[in-house]
Symmetry: C2
Subunit: 570 residues, 2 copies
């Protein structure tokens, strides 16, 4: 491609609304332009980047034996009624009616449609296992779309769905996808981790997220320093150390005045105990019902764990006013004793002896609070957020926290959709059984953004070679000089003949602005026809990533770049 003919509007200005670096650089580099909130047009450069990801995903899905299909993006509401998600899915599901007043939605995901395909077309165990996938534009009506391609409303997704005869088969299909995802993100040239994850609104029993590591990631991962354990903090299990029962004598409940001491630290200091001796009581709204969550005073509630312990669809913390409205209890003095609400306690709380807790009365706490004697939680489990001071739940090793960007998510769905939608096959024993399903997503457009979050510097993007829209940019610094032009054109032709994707900067611009654009666009190799060409007939090759430069003859330059690029793609 010739730069002079390409719609590649780079800018120096950073758009004010662009909070994250990938959004800034994608706009500054002329990759995308905003149409409206959460929706972007991919200009030619952006489309090429998207195509690179798409092609890698497609090849690896096909290699893993999945079959590409294409389902409608508009989906009939009655299928969603069948699965039960028409009511359950929040306002992110964009619902509308057609001219005949029938209910439809824009597909945020395709479990319903693919399960409908399966129940019509797959009758026998002989047709299984099967894995169907598509690469398609999806829509989710996010309340606050932001971060450019990271959290848009309209985005490109690869979604795959596997159908098996039983759980063992589903595990094999899951494992094949897990390996395919590893190959995909390795081939993309990204640093990533597969972590144990929560299954969220999709449902199912088991899932892994694929996280591109980047400081700006919205998710926090916990990674073991000793073994291969890695998990999303939403999911990461707490390894509770064995402990002998306490020998301490249980004291009486005593109400003490603690005026103005609404925070754990304040109460602990006043009562001369550690924060770990205080029971922290928080109220949440779980599917419309107020519940109490109890953790040790030095711990934080992990709301996804709370949601899972309750089996709830939606869990939101309540603020002071909401709590007053709903329970007439004073925030800062909440406690489990005498509380007439559903209570969920962290496992550590049950080991506490003679603890401090709110008295459910303004300005008062209780001391000598003992779980089991003074209150009995409805649910006890792993409720708190993991920290770096915890130990690896697998090997007991030390833990590190890392930020990551979710780019893929694989789920064992089980029979959630097949049972709800009566999607059955006939097994070898003649019995009708529901398909055991898995589903597997990759945020194709998000991979482009995540690659940039992970790979950039002050000057711009540093694309990994496999995702670069162009692998080489040829800068002609003498666009009015015949010798320069001939050399640049020859190089352009020869490099393309080697199968490389090349951008020829043939614009009549100052060298400084050509260098700046090349850096901004993140093209892995820059080949400059400049002063060294005039002096000694040689060209300069510079690696965007390492800054390493080489001065080579024209023939050497082509061979060198072809070798480098093909190596990076292999």
């Amino acid at each position: 491609m010739r730069y002079s003919q390409m719609l590649l509007p780079t800018t120096k200005e950073t758009p004010s609304e662009a909070e994250v670096v990938s959004h800034q650089l994608l706009v500054r580099g002329g990759f995308i332009r905003k149409l409206t909130s959460g929706m972007y047009t991919y200009l030619p450069m952006g489309f090429l980047a998207l195509q690179k990801v798409t092609e890698i995903v497609r090849q690896e899905m096909n290699r893993a034996g999945a079959q590409e299909i294409l389902m409608p993006m508009v989906q009939p509401g009655d299928l969603w009624e069948e699965s039960g998600r028409w009511k359950k899915y929040g306002p992110e599901l964009l619902r509308f009616r057609d001219r005949h007043d029938r209910d439809y939605c824009l597909g945020p995901t395709h479990e319903e449609v693919v399960t409908d395909v399966a129940r019509r077309e797959l009758q026998s165990y002989r047709q299984l296992p099967i894995n169907l996938y598509q690469i398609q534009t999806k829509f989710r009506d996010e309340i606050r779309p932001r971060f450019g391609l990271m959290r848009g409303r309209e985005f490109v997704m690869k979604d795959a769905y596997s159908f098996d005869v039983d759980d063992a088969g589903a595990s094999r299909s899951y494992e094949i996808m897990r390996q395919a995802y590893h190959r995909i993100f390795e081939r993309c040239g990204l640093e990533f981790r597969a972590v144990e994850a929560d299954s969220g609104a999709i449902g199912g029993s088991f899932s892994h997220e694929f996280m591109v590591l980047a400081e700006t990631g919205e998710d926090t991962l916990v990674i073991c320093e000793s073994c291969s354990y890695a998990a999303n903090v939403e999911k990461a299990a707490i390894a509770l150390a064995e402990a002998a029962p306490s020998m301490e004598v249980l004291r009486e409940l005593v109400k003490v005045e603690t005026p103005g001491m609404k925070k754990v630290d304040k109460v602990a200091e006043f009562l001369k105990v550690e924060p770990a001796a205080v029971i922290k009581t928080l109220f949440y709204l779980a599917d419309g019902v107020v519940v109490a969550a109890l953790v040790r005073g030095d711990r934080e509630v992990q709301s996804v764990k709370l949601k899972n312990l309750l089996g709830a669809t939606d869990v939101e913390p309540l603020d002071e006013e909401q709590i007053w409205q709903q329970t007439r209890l004073p925030v800062g003095y909440l406690g489990p004793v005498g509380l007439e609400l559903k209570m969920v306690a962290d496992q550590e709380v049950m080991r506490m002896v003679n603890a401090v807790a709110g008295a459910n009365e303004k300005g008062c706490h209780l001391t000598g609070v003992n779980p089991g004697r003074d209150f009995t939680p409805d649910v006890v489990g792993d409720l708190r957020q993991i920290t770096v001071n915890d130990r690896c739940p697998v090997c007991g090793g030390g833990l590190r926290l890392k930020e990551g960007i979710e780019v893929g998510h694989i789920f064992k769905l089980g029979t959630k959709y097949s049972e709800a939608m009566k999607a059955n096959f006939q097994d070898s024993d003649g019995q009708e059984k529901p398909f055991v399903m898995g589903c597997y997503g990759i945020g194709v457009s998000r991979v482009v953004a995540a690659a940039i979050e992970q790979n950039h510097d002050a000057k711009g993007i540093i694309f990994p070679v496999p995702l670069a829209p162009f692998q080489v940019i040829v800068l002609n610094l003498g666009p009015k000089d015949e010798g320069y032009c001939t050399a640049a054109e020859d190089l352009y032709t020869q490099l393309r003949a080697q199968g490389l994707d090349v951008l020829l900067d043939d614009r009549d611009e100052r060298p400084g602005s050509k260098f700046a654009d090349a850096d901004l666009l993140g093209i892995p190799y820059r080949l400059t026809v400049g002063k060294t060409f005039e002096k000694e007939g040689k060209v300069e090759i510079r690696s965007r990533k390492t800054g390493e430069t080489q001065v080579l003859s024209l023939e050497e330059a082509t061979a060198y770049l072809a070798e480098r690029v093909h190596l990076a793609l292999s």
Copy 2:
């Protein structure tokens, strides 16, 4: 691909709702499945066919210098307000509101969005000409979707938009696309015609349709037998022969009783004149206003010509009851004399002398009707439908009518959108000017259906090689015999190594059903490992199109097929 592992559910039953052969064969061959009215899932075989068309389109668009982008499918209503189409576009435009109650629609076409991109990113004549295209799922809420992929609600389209500094530039861009379209449909292996066409709702001054010739086509083309003229009948101009003014004496208007004679033929017979001596008067509703259309009694009104003569957006014929409701005039006795409606007359009507016309009174006609003297139309023009008895408007040669399926449409838009949306650039003279635009569509999914409408027989599809999902099917007729299996597997491997797309029918099925499926699926070459293999170690190759068969050794077979396929693709 191995047949045993592919989701390829062929059926013998023809779905009752499938009225056209492409719909029947796409369902019977397991290419598509209906999700809901006008929306289909492409199963693996259908997706492969779609991909073949997509790839040819993409390559030729790129070769023609167009740049691929991707615009959102969901479009904000305010852009459509700017262009004026939010109100003008009928209920085919699916409108809805997002969670913040803002207006959106699903894109049936992208003039508004791309014009918005242009006005933001293209400031100078130096950036022009430019042609931006995308290949994307579109949605039109058709009132009666039918014919499978021929007239669906959701479909895949390639849409391109060119921007030029002036009309001469726009003509060059148009010509480049016209040639690219010729290459695309030639490469698809389809018999087609580019015809002059009406511009329809998209607007603009000039357009060509690309029509795949097929008996089942919804459109009628008129084609000159002598020169290269071809046009859609909606558009085809009538060459009015030169004629000397009539010497006939103008007679008086006389009212005659013609009870029950509502048809032209009846009145003509009764009054002993030719039908060509009767003025046929029809009423239409044009943008909500009743108008009268006048043609000679032996002619038919072409409603698209009527619409264009009126400059109307929507023109619908009125039936007897509607006419009575709106005008209190009796159908069968309508005529132009004394009529207080807007009148549009065909040019031939103005040459009529002493004609017969309805008297606007039940059971009565007038004789001696003379245009100019007895009535004066508001608009006179080419209003009637062309027939095979007309002459070519270019060379005067004979005409033929052919049925065709519209698969592509290119438009010179002019400044319709750029003026409405204030999309300007600075020209070399420093003046702000609106872009001169063109737009260019291809119904990618429709091409698959049209290819089948044109190429099929009683047994199934006969894919042109370039569009075939697989070019070769290898039938293993001894799937339990090791020798057969080894030969079939070797051929499968060798053919794929030659770059061919091969389906290996490794199923444990009767030979008859394998032959039937191969014919149904329309794969161009069938290679059978059967009896001749057992007897003499040779395989049979059969062309789906010609039925020609060859018996060859395994090596010969591979070389023969590779040569045939590569020839067909070149």
